[in-house]
Amino acid sequence: MPVLAESTTDFSKTEINAALTAEQKRHLLRDMIRIREFETGAFEQYQKKKMGGFLHLYIGQEAVAVGSVSLMGDNDHVITAYRDHGHALAVGMGMDECMAELFGKRTGCSKGKGGSMHFFAPDKNYWGGHGIVGGQTPLGLGLAFGLKYKGLKGCSMCFLGDGAVNQGAYHESLNLAGLWDLPVIYVIENNGYSMGTSQKRSSAFNTCLAERAAGYGIIWDVVRNGSDLYEVREVVGRAVERAHAESRPTVLEIATYRYEGHSVADAKHNKQTLQEGYRTKDEIEHYRKNFDPIGNFSEKLIQEGVTTEDEIKEIRKAAVAETRASVTFADQSAFPTAEDLLTDVYSEVDHNTLAGRTGRHFFND
């Protein structure tokens, strides 16, 4: 079970959050609402069979991506696993290119070649979107290595799920990060389940998953209430500072919760009893009611006098309209052609360089 628990500290008063303007706070709320509405819309389109394959929804976890990404400077980079729509929108990717990618259209962010699990926007320091559990963890390390090699003061935020912490690639990455003082932040988004297997059935640990970092000499920390955007910013902010100032890695574990299944094709995530599935409707309802990141932040901002219920309604309405427009955009866009199969495989071929024109690269008829 995730360790989501009410914060005992009021993180809105910490330096990093006190520095936020009212406009910035409304923007953060808007970012979370846009992710929620985009994914709700995507789910509807999935049910209408507008897309194939998997759709791993981030609904319930929005404060993690939005809070973390809000701390990024010019030389800070983000990479994540397959539950990647939230991070994509948080770094500023447009709904149109994201929805079109889900629809497998040529106007998608990856030209319809990547799909739901493989969104990328290197111009926004967003390096995907990776399908193999834990496979992105050495890549995130490489971004940090690249920054240090180039002498840039930045960091790599590498997100992973609680199911990824048992992969070898992750442990190899931790060893190298600790050994070489690389400015990488591994953010474990612990939503309690690696697909249908609860944390207690999948991981051996002492007090938490992040604590394993201690064995590699890496500082670790925990966000107990990952639905509190302020707490996320406070804890991730300290790690970013450590990366920038000391070029040292950090492992963070953020307790969070996903409302939907592992992917939308997960029949056993919301049953009446634990005999029928791996979690119950009651459990989901408990988190929805008590730990909703959008509800939580909305309430705080209203209390602070930063926004009003009416304004939030307007934000939601705008996000719904933006989502609808992205569905129309995706619907009206063309699919890639059979010729597109053979582009974006080799850079030298695409750019028609001498190297790309020399020898046979493809072995079709």
Binding site: K113, P138, L139, G142, S173, G359, R360
Partner: protein
């Protein structure tokens, strides 16, 4: 022309490329302070320092994946696998990340990385250390695969591989490291060899022997014996790069001789020669006067026993027998 070893030729290529481009760095197990398990990187750490020549712990998935990530930011890592056989523990990083990140990002991300090291049998190190995975690498569209047979080719192809904007899997050979060959002097200018261009290493008229890597030397040895003892003259075509592949050169030699024996250290099932044979029957069927023949490693895990391992790999004797069977 001056003569240096295959090992020195590679070392020279690294040295020159490290000096030419600040983004080029070497990384691998024992490549720096130890001077390389096979001394291929000898002296480079002393000359270029910790930043450019990096010792990695034994952690192939970790450091190769890290290098892929660094290459996405524009660095040009040259990663050493102490044996190419160890690709198995880094396979997800090589296939899914290096091989596919460009495609899955719709061309937004490049991966200009070189992964290199020896890929050969014949040194009695058992099945786990004797893999020749050029066929496996070449099945991934997005990866390029190079297998030089001589010192000259090793240097020229390595320099090109480092400059290439796509991931290049560079297969060397511990049995070739000490062999000498003519390599142009750096004083005479920058020396590179393009990928995708085969090299006709011997000219003949009767049979085409097509090979890559050390098998080229086996083919040349067989060709000399066939000439001396049987009066049969062979073309020996060195593919040099597997992907991209010089299809024109293959079809040219087949059209010339009408008889082909493929020499390939891969195992026969889905080995590189299986692809070449398919290509020849598709595109040059009418040129052939005999079925395409293959000499591959015997289809079993690499055996340890030294005298038997010699026989498991392609030998000049087996090549000669195949040639005689189709003449």
């Amino acid at each position: 022309m001056r003569t240096i070893t295959y090992r020195q030729a590679l070392n020279e290529a690294f040295d020159e490329e490290i000096q030419r481009d600040p983004n080029v760095f070497l990384i691998g197990e024992e490549v720096a302070e130890y001077d390389g398990a096979y001394k291929v990187t000898q002296g480079l750490w002393k000359k270029h320092g910790d930043k450019r020549v990096v010792d990695s712990p034994i952690s192939e998935s970790g450091f190769i994946g890290m290098a892929v990530g660094a290459s996405m930011l524009g660095l040009r890592p040259v990663c050493e696998l102490m044996f190419w056989s160890f690709y198995t523990v880094a396979w997800d990083q090589i296939a899914n990340n290096a091989g596919m990140v460009r495609y899955m990002s719709g061309g937004l991300i490049n991966c200009p990385i070189v992964i290199r090291g020896p890929a050969n049998g014949g040194t009695n190190v058992g099945a786990t250390h004797s893999h020749t995975p050029e066929n496996i690498m070449a099945t991934i569209p997005g990866l390029k695969v190079v297998c030089p047979a001589t010192a000259r080719d090793a240097k020229g192809l390595m320099k090109t591989a480092i400059r290439d904007n796509d991931p290049v899997m560079f297969m060397e050979n511990t049995m070739l490291y000490g062999l000498e060959g003519e390599v142009p002097d750096p004083a005479d200018g920058d020396f590179t060899i393009p990928l995708g261009v085969a090299d006709l290493k011997r000219e003949g008229v009767d049979v085409s022997l097509i090979a890559h890597g050390r098998s080229v030397l086996i083919a040349l040895e067989a060709a000399e014996i066939l000439s001396a003892e049987h009066g049969i003259e062979c073309d020996v075509l060195d593919l040099r790069s597997i992907r991209p592949l010089d299809e024109e050169a293959i079809l040219e030699t087949v059209a010339k001789t009408s008889r082909v024996v493929l020499v390939d250290e891969n195992k026969p099932f889905c080995g590189v020669s299986a692809q070449i044979a398919a290509l020849i029957q598709e595109k040059a069927f009418d040129d052939l006067d005999a079925p395409v023949q293959r000499v591959c490693s015997i289809d079993a895990p690499a055996i340890y026993s030294p005298p038997v391992e010699k026989e498991q790999l392609p030998t000049a004797r087996r090549v000669i027998d195949k040639v005689l069977s189709i003449i």
